[in-house]
Amino acid sequence: MGSLYLRFAVGGIHKNRKLCYPYILTGVGMVSIFYVLNYLINCEPVMELRGSGVLTATLSFGVFVMAAFSLVFLSYTSSFLTKRRLKEYGLYNVLGMDKWGIAKISFWESVILGFASVTLGLVFGIAISKLCEVEIMNIIREDIDYTLRFYSGPFFLTLTVYGTIYILLLLKALFQVSRKNPLDMMKSESEGEKPPKGNRLIALLGFVLPAVSYYMAATIKNPVDALSTFVIAVIMVIAATYCLFTVGSVTLCKWLQKRKKYYYKKNHFISVSSMTFRMKRNGAGLASICILSTMVLVTMAGTISMYASIRDLIGPYDSSIEVRFDNLDEVLGGAGDSIKENYYGIFKEYGLKPKEETEYVHVYTNLVQRDDCFIRENAQYEDYRAVRFISAADYSRLTGEKIYLNPGEALVTQPSNEYPYSTVTIMGFTFSIPGNPPKYEEIGMNNSGTDSHITVILSNLDELQSIDGLMGENCEYCWTYSCNFDGDDDTVIAAHYDQYDALTAYFGERGYSSSGYSSREQIKDAYVVFGGLLFLGVMLSLVFLSSAVLILYYKHLTEGYEDKERISIMEKVGMTKTLVRKNVNSQILTVFLAPLIVAGIHLIFASPLIWKLLQLTDIYNFHLFIKSEIFTFALFSVCYIIAYKLTAETYLKIVGE
């Protein structure tokens, strides 16, 4: 007897393969990506990377997102499957099979679907794990080894997580079956449908909520606030998208129907009325597609621009150190020379020969700007500007731009725009600005690109001594030495650290602070961090995208079955086949392009926020960011439209039968 139910279940799945196979396919995708992410966390070459901690944290976050998303999404699609199957179950019930028998069929179906998804997913995951390992190594620019690996940990974790998810889905399906009586089941698909009700208040929310969150996103000032604002804005936008697609669209259609002159026109009559119903049935699904699309867009635009900006994050030198003395005389009096001696000694030990050496002195302090006046007063953190003073000679040497200044003259440069005034007054002492300021160039440490930084070039730093109240413990007197090497990464990084440690030990005793970086190390770290993020972004985007495609496909399938009858009635009443087709096609197109367009709008308004978040990671290349967004949107649109075309085929096949 048991095998009979199993046979029914197998037959049912085969008969509904249009629904079941894509469902299995999505499950396989999720299981395999979940496995791959876990595999990478356990993978030795990944673990042995410098900064693997950040990478594992990123991937673990991805694992968590995958599990949560899988639960929500698979439960959504499986309830869709069960709903379609209820009619058949009802028929079995009417023909004399008891609830217990139906439960058994439903049980076997869920078991087969779950088993197929998990097994195939694991097989596929193991098959592509090496490929993904190679890919991530490529993205983070590390050496690839070709040893095949398998870890039982990720295998059993995947099995447990997805086993649990599918068991939950099984229980849910059984619950759905047990609740319905046979007649309800048979009717479940052909219930006379109530016309949807518009609700102006909720519709209004659909427009007001995004407006508010867009406003929040656009006006955010401080990158540190961006993260919390981002979370709030995301929740609001999700809620708003659901309001907009479900109630908002229906309310709009209802309003159009009230305008008789517009409504009772050949082209509007049918599309407006059926759109009302279409949106009622599809609103939630379309909102989900829209949100998934937005997730893909935001994730990809963010991770691509981070990855593409890596070069900007890297300082220009293989080794660079900065020592901060506590008075100008010492630093101008050649205090750096002894440090350099020591430095050379260590390089020699490592067989390295410094080239492209630079050395300069600058004075650093925080001041508040009032037009062209810079003063020292108590103010909010945001109001301070980080002011660097540098001599014209050092500046010329550093940037290659020849600058001559007389005493009492100054040039001012800042990152975002030109300094607009003709003088600069530092605590009451006015310098005249003799010419156009040079284009801003970053000097020294690599994080000086924020808008709060400003550089003042003077003929000689000694001039600062005559400004009352400027000097003292509020200023840092920095000596910087940088150079490049021909050696390989490991040697250079080791030499840099040897020197740096010696330096810190020496100056720490004297109470001076120092800092340093090696671009060789920075670049490695940046590739691991941002490469890891990009890899995860691509993986998650793939999952979100294929989920959106599955909803799209299911929507087309149901639309097809529902429209089929309607189309035949319209033809009988006197619409030409071509008019019917044209009408229906344009509706379908509108309905399925709407999520893409709304997602695009969301992306545009989320941009200021994403931009602020990127600044948290020291990315300041706005053009690159915009380019990444456009690239992402274009690529996504192409994928979406291809997916639309493919799934629309199903629709046309059903209504054309």
Partner: protein, 253 residues
């Protein structure tokens, strides 16, 4: 001249591989005069539905032609056929065929909107007609909210609103209970008395007995026809069922 003339109508269905042929209609000939109420009877598989589909220009005949008011529409191309159907024919179906996305009122307006009529023109037309059909109070409702009998009257209203030359009814009582059936047939009789031509396909003797003439179709040809003459509905009912009995036993009438 007759309103509708059907001559040597033939319809052959070929199976997908072309190896077997089914003759749904062999040679159908009949005419319908203006103002007549004609019922076409026949068993399942006799070719009734095929005939009606061809009359409705939903299907094309293999041979012969259908002339309505001097126009042979069986040869019209698809897009012209739809216009022709909308302007000249009114339909009443067994399953009502109301669109659930439209209110009752909008369902009735559908053919007029497709014909490009203005809202003012349509709203003038609907009120007297809806009143006469007893559906004036439910115009704003949706199909799911009204009963089967009401749905069928809405369908009749939709068929009449274009002032069609002929109403084609396909088993209009098939999905109705006996009270609603009586009401609908009475409605048809009243409409017919106003001069509306009706052609109804049915296998219900009761439905057929409200017509003025009954055509019997069997094996793809019109086998027999009887007129009501002066007989009452009840007498005509007996006449029809006797005829059917003879036909089914295979004898000559």
């Amino acid at each position: 001249m007759s309103l509708l003339t059907v001559t040597h109508l033939k319809k052959t269905y070929t199976s997908r591989f072309g190896d077997s042929k089914v003759e749904a209609l062999k040679d159908v000939n009949f005419t319908v005069e203006t103002g007549e109420f004609v019922a076409i009877m026949g068993e399942s598989g006799s070719g009734k539905t095929t005939l009606l589909n061809i009359l409705a220009s939903l299907d094309k005949p293999t041979g012969g032609n259908v002339v309505l008011d001097g126009v042979d529409f069986s040869t019209l191309p698809e897009n012209k056929a739809a216009d022709y159907r909308r302007e000249n024919l009114g339909f009443v179906f067994q399953e009502f065929n109301l669109l659930d996305t439209f209110s009752v009122e909008d369902n009735i307006y559908l053919p007029l909107v497709l014909g490009g009529k203005s809202y003012e023109e349509m709203s003038l037309k609907i009120n007297p007609l809806a009143k006469a059909l007893g559906i004036g109070a439910i115009l704003k409702k949706y199909p799911y909210e009204i009963s089967g009998g009401q749905k069928q009257r809405v369908a009749v209203c939709r068929a009449l609103i274009t002032d069609p030359k002929i109403i084609l009814a396909d088993e209009p009582t098939g999905a109705l209970d006996s009270r609603n059936t009586d009401e609908l047939l009475e409605l048809f009789t009243i409409i017919n008395r106003t001069g509306q031509t009706i052609l109804m396909v049915t296998h219900s003797v009761k439905a057929a007995s409200s017509a003025g003439r009954v055509l019997f179709i069997k094996d793809g040809t019109v086998y027999h026809e009887i007129y009501r003459g002066d007989s009452s509905n009840q007498q005509f009912y007996t006449k029809i069922s006797n005829t059917l009995t003879v036909l089914q036993s295979g004898g000559e009438v």
